[in-house]
Symmetry: C2
Subunit: 430 residues, 2 copies
Amino acid sequence: MTYRALDEHSVVEYIKSRPKIWGTIFDTDAELDVKEVGDGNLNLVFIITNRKNPEQSVVLKQALPYLRVAGESWPLTRERMRYETKALLKHNELAPGLVPEVYDYDFDMSLVIMEDLSDLVIMRKALVARQKLPHFVDHISTFLARTLFFTSDLYLKGMEKKRMMAEFINEELRKLQEDFVYTNPYMESPENNWNPLVDDEVQAVRSDAALKLEIAEMKNAYMNHTEALIHADLHTGSIMVDAERTKVIDPEFAFFGPIAYDVGAVLQNLVLNYLSHYGHTPDPEERHEYQEYVLDMVRGVWNEFARKFEEIWVENNRGELVPTPYWDFPGGEEAFAEYRRRFIHRLLQETAGHGGVKFLRRMMGIVSVWDITSIEDPRKRAVAERAAIRIGKRWIMERKDVESIEDLINIVREESIPAEKELEEIMSNE
Amino acid sequence: MTYRALDEHSVVEYIKSRPKIWGTIFDTDAELDVKEVGDGNLNLVFIITNRKNPEQSVVLKQALPYLRVAGESWPLTRERMRYETKALLKHNELAPGLVPEVYDYDFDMSLVIMEDLSDLVIMRKALVARQKLPHFVDHISTFLARTLFFTSDLYLKGMEKKRMMAEFINEELRKLQEDFVYTNPYMESPENNWNPLVDDEVQAVRSDAALKLEIAEMKNAYMNHTEALIHADLHTGSIMVDAERTKVIDPEFAFFGPIAYDVGAVLQNLVLNYLSHYGHTPDPEERHEYQEYVLDMVRGVWNEFARKFEEIWVENNRGELVPTPYWDFPGGEEAFAEYRRRFIHRLLQETAGHGGVKFLRRMMGIVSVWDITSIEDPRKRAVAERAAIRIGKRWIMERKDVESIEDLINIVREESIPAEKELEEIMSNE
């Protein structure tokens, strides 16, 4: 079938033509309601429901053809939907229940049909509303440990991994992240955006030679370290939650990159949410209580990720990086344990590096995060932003001395002290 | 055309069917002499000459179909000739004159037709014969700097590089190197070979936990750091020379890997040759003089590589890793200079690491090098081998403290002292 963009009418006919959906997900006498909820730019997103039985519903996501983001310079083809679909299938295989189930897909039409998650909310909203998510740490650490371990050289055979790498070249979306995360925010570039109240801090980053040398090192790792199939856009806007469930969505950026990039994305987005409560939660007690809850999640996500990653490794050392017979010598068991310790310790240091860069890019690049932009008062917003810049810089510059997640949490706590003072000052003038 | 293996008769018909060869390289009235000089295993290699004008000659190299090396475990398809051809074409583009010129190729037939270099000798032979090669340092440093720089993110655009990476997956030959360089030599594996006189040293390596942790780190870099299109088998058996010319051949292992792997291969093979003269050159004065000459080459190759790499970088900073505007701030020029210094310094440290591993693998893995195996007296051979193991281990373990090439040369000198003593003892008993 040749590609055509669907609309609210043609999507019904399309659904009826798909045997994996019609007569399977939907009864053949279903009457379909269609709602388009996409952003109207990159993708169409239809929620399709049987009005005779609203339990029967699907989401159909279709990429719009060739388009440009950020002006003229960054073209994107609808090839991205092929990557998203392939990554969703892989995630369903490795972390079932933690991603939307895929019912059907069509590469020619650049679309995927999947589980309707519209009863969940985007995690940012839940966090800004100070909701408790008692299963999030367990769920996301399982998602991270399993999707990253089982696509790394610790599990895949050398040739399997290279063939899978050939399936995830994804050069267009990689370039977007390379530019927008690691380069453009730190130099003059027309798409950059920042709060004028933090202009001094932004300009200081852009002329901080020592910092930019380290960012360039992290960029080299992002571009070249093909450790595992990473989600590559795992912020809290790509996670849907309720009190019971966690679903990771939108893996169109997926490629073989550094494991720590995904872990860093989760931790850094949690800390950005922590900081956003300087704007969202004026009552100090309420704020501190939830901020501590968020820091517990940061600690939990890292510690549980590290624990599960190692546990899965010990049980599934099938890969060829360090095969079991390599450790077959007196003291070899201890050496293998030490290798795992060093490997995971390196991941923590790189998590600090990539996470640190992502703090900065959100403060001065093309897109911020809703947690921060939804703070109405620009002065309170600046309190969070200045702290984010300080924390990001320190996570990057101090990463090689990081010994445990407590070191990263302590940086957050230390940089919260000036933030509290700034906020007090603003509040006392209100 | 479907694949068929050529023989000395059918190759003549084949040559006459190729317009890029027949009437171009060869006159149409040429009378062809054919000589098959391949190893009879992996590839057929025909030297084809016009007996009426011996200036007219070509080499035709054809991969034999699917075969297994080292017993049953490592299958290879003739896909490898596609990689060799694509790499030869890229090398001709980037380092013309330093590789055999490609006249024609045929992916279906898994063959390439190229410049006849049979008037040159394999570099190992020249070095064992203590020949001087006054242009080698200049030539190989140019080859390294140009082929590696222009296929890295310092020159290629992000999307260009990812698309080129997709062309060089080369999963079969990469697995061979992953196993045979970084893993199997250091554990029990049936294809391993070593001189029984160095059995103690070999067993000590295999149970040296600290060393094996570092080798595993280098293996991770080899498997995952996609910096540039590397030759990946750049030993002195892949280099043909005479007093004037240097030609790098046999790039069938080429893939996107660590830059330092190629540099390390050259330096380590030079040092192995240095050590081989404990067997080949009994006269101490003659030996020391040539060993110093070899060390001068080691120094020259690194220093000229580093100088040219940086010079090309400054003149061609077209890539997207650190684009020029990234350095547009007060002090940015110095920061960029510092970035280049750190980048190249890291390459030196990794050169020590990969080179160090390659010393060890040649002493206890599937293949040694002719420089060493051609030493008839196993005791003298062991003198060289023990020194190679000591040097390899120190290059690996001390790599993170390496500041300049002199540090690596000093390790060679220090480990030559016990070698000299061992040799004296053997000679005094003769």
